[in-house]
């Protein structure tokens, strides 16, 4: 059984992004070995990162370097990965379902003939073929989708798998994979790239808990931020809240913003317009707090509170703080 190559998304300082642990956990269940591709885009894997990967059961880490080209350009990274897949004979590439990785996957589909599944929430091997689970139509339908190609590229949504270390740790070997990007791949010039500063909170796209504010906050996100900090949660927002400038656009949850699937979603002052639902309806448990009993979000909420968020949310925060001691 051939190996699964995991794209090791990482921060600018060389730490693994949280969902990578989930990818590796899932990769182990597919049979065959698990190897990792590390794009050397400035950051190197630290000793601690390599130890984490070893604990997760990654036997090989390939340092992918592009001769003089920028690996932040999707076309360049895709060429590096295509060459690596060919060189190692891995039949599956697993990566986090981000917009950047979707660009890489599209390039790979054209260059290698790979079958691509995006936004998968499960993956298994059935009679040798890879079958992915995914929800569609804003989380209202579930599907199972088989890959009918020799090479599969599967992009997994965060929080789809509970990350766990391997039974026995290994020491990953680090191998160089240097390549020269084609003239075609280097036509896109990355003129500027500004990493978003860390907020001290988890990433919105991969957080286990997300606290979201909408129009009903009337611009004051303070009670939501306090709740998020007690829960170790990320803070998100609706399109209205970001358009009003109450919070940055990067906090927008929706089909055109960040798509989330946390274990717990808490929406306060969120009406639940269809665009927003498209970005959060796949969440595990949905809690809604809204003073309007007719808000559509109550139709999809597991637990709904009809009430004023400015009293309910601080009370919730205080009670959780008390219960946590």
């Amino acid at each position: 059984m051939s190996d699964t190559l995991v794209l090791l998304d990482h921060t600018a300082s060389g730490a693994l992004r949280t969902p990578v642990r989930e990818l590796v956990t899932l990769a182990r269940s597919l049979g065959g070995g698990v190897t990792g591709a590390w794009a050397v885009d400035g950051a190197e894997p630290s000793a601690q990162t390599l130890a984490e990967l070893g604990a997760l059961g990654v036997t090989q880490v390939y340092r992918v370097t592009a001769d003089g080209a920028d690996l932040h350009a999707a076309a360049v990274l895709a060429e590096g990965l295509a060459g690596l897949l060919e060189a190692t004979g891995a039949s599956t590439l697993l990566a986090t379902s981000s917009f950047e990785n979707k660009e890489v996957a599209a390039h790979l589909a054209v260059a290698t003939g790979a079958g691509v599944v995006t936004d998968a929430d499960a993956l298994e091997r059935v009679d040798g073929a890879l079958v992915a689970g995914k929800t569609v139509f804003a989380g209202t339908w579930t599907t199972r989708c088989a890959v009918r190609a020799a090479l599969a590229v599967v992009l997994l949504k965060a929080n789809s798998v509970v990350a766990a270390d391997a039974d026995a740790p290994v020491e990953p070997q680090v191998t160089e994979h240097a390549f020269t990007a084609s003239a075609s791949a280097t036509r896109v010039r990355v003129v500027e790239r500004t990493e978003r500063p860390a907020t001290g909170r988890p990433d919105l796209g991969s957080a286990h808990i997300v606290v979201t504010g909408g129009r009903g906050t009337e611009g004051d996100f303070t009670p939501l931020e306090e709740l998020a900090d007690v829960l170790g949660a990320a803070v998100g927002a609706t399109r209205v809240a970001t358009d009003e400038g109450w919070i940055g656009h990067d906090a927008q949850i929706g089909q055109t913003g960040v798509t989330i699937s946390p274990r717990l979603y808490i929406g306060a002052g969120v009406s639940g317009a269809v665009h927003h639902r498209g970005g959060m309806q796949a969440s595990g448990t949905i809690v809604a707090i809204n003073s309007d009993p007719d808000a559509p979000i109550f139709e999809i909420a597991d637990y709904g509170v009809v009430g004023d968020l400015t009293t309910v949310v601080p009370q919730l925060t205080a009670e959780l703080r008390r219960l946590k001691g």
């Binding site: 999707a74 054209v110 995006t118 569609v136 036509r187 790239r193 978003r196 509170v305 309910v312 959780l320």
Partner: protein, 259 residues
């Protein structure tokens, strides 16, 4: 400056969307131009207006009704429209769709710039724009929150999960735009009347010289095995706040081990 805008006809997201035999049902009579493609059309029309010259061709691939999507493009101000209509295309995955679009762009004589929306609000894979660029062998600049064409260079800004970027490439190129890029114009009466006189060319795979085995189910590298509506959520709770809703909610979260 010749710009081709690729648009999609999709079920209205407010409608009861469903899958039949693993394919998106497109027979509900509630289809519409993919909302995000209005941003693509607006971006293309703005580029032509800023340059003071050029033309916009709007292209779609889809069943009979899909002609409505390009008609809307003509009403907004596009100059001509192409509708690729062929039963063999049904069931195409993202790559199959990109192949048809690439052939259509070539058929109309190519483009200095291809513009698309960031995603189709039905499948939402976001794969088609980049795959299309790759097939056309032009640089892809996806997810533009703004774009500017200066001479023969296109420059976009984009906001990703962890970073913001400025990308640049020489034309010809492909740009996909987000809903941050602009406010799409509404077709006015003049535009609607003018659209009636503009040509819509209907093309088949044979017209495009595209082998039917490369598209549709035959050309797909993925296959939907099962599809079902997600079961309704069970054990739902709805309470009115009578002064202790925050305390009750905290107890619910702790009891269900959610925090």
């Amino acid at each position: 400056m010749k710009i081709v805008v690729c648009v999609k006809y999709v079920p209205d997201i407010q409608s009861d969307r469903r899958l039949v035999d693993g394919r998106t049902a497109r027979d509900g009579g509630d289809g519409t131009l993919n909302e995000l493609d209005e941003n693509a059309l607006e971006a293309a029309l703005s580029v032509v207006e800023a340059a003071g010259e050029g033309s916009v061709v709007v292209v779609t691939v889809g069943p009979d009704d899909a002609v409505d999507a390009v008609r809307k493009g003509l009403q907004m101000g596009a100059d001509e429209a192409v509708h690729v209509l062929d039963d063999a295309i049904a069931g195409s995955d993202a790559l199959g769709t990109a192949r048809v679009l690439a052939a259509a762009v070539r058929h109309v004589g190519g483009a200095d710039l291809v513009v698309t929306g960031m995603a189709g609000l039905d499948g939402l894979t976001s794969l088609v724009p980049t795959a299309l660029a790759s097939l056309l062998d032009v640089p892809a600049l996806p997810l533009a929150a703004s774009l500017e064409v200066t001479g023969s260079t296109v420059r976009v800004t984009r906001n990703l999960d962890h970073a913001s970027e400025v990308l640049e490439a020489d034309l010809p190129a492909l740009v996909s735009v987000t809903d941050q890029a602009n406010e799409p114009r509404y077709p006015n009466f003049k535009g609607i009347m003018a659209a009636k006189k503009k040509p819509v060319t209907t093309l088949t795979l044979a017209d495009l010289g595209l082998d039917a085995t490369l598209v549709g189910d035959a050309g797909s590298r993925t296959e939907v095995l099962e599809a079902a509506p997600r079961p309704a959520r069970e054990d739902r709770v709805l309470v009115n706040d009578t002064g202790d809703a925050g305390v009750k909610l905290a107890a619910y979260l702790v009891e269900n081990q959610l925090v």
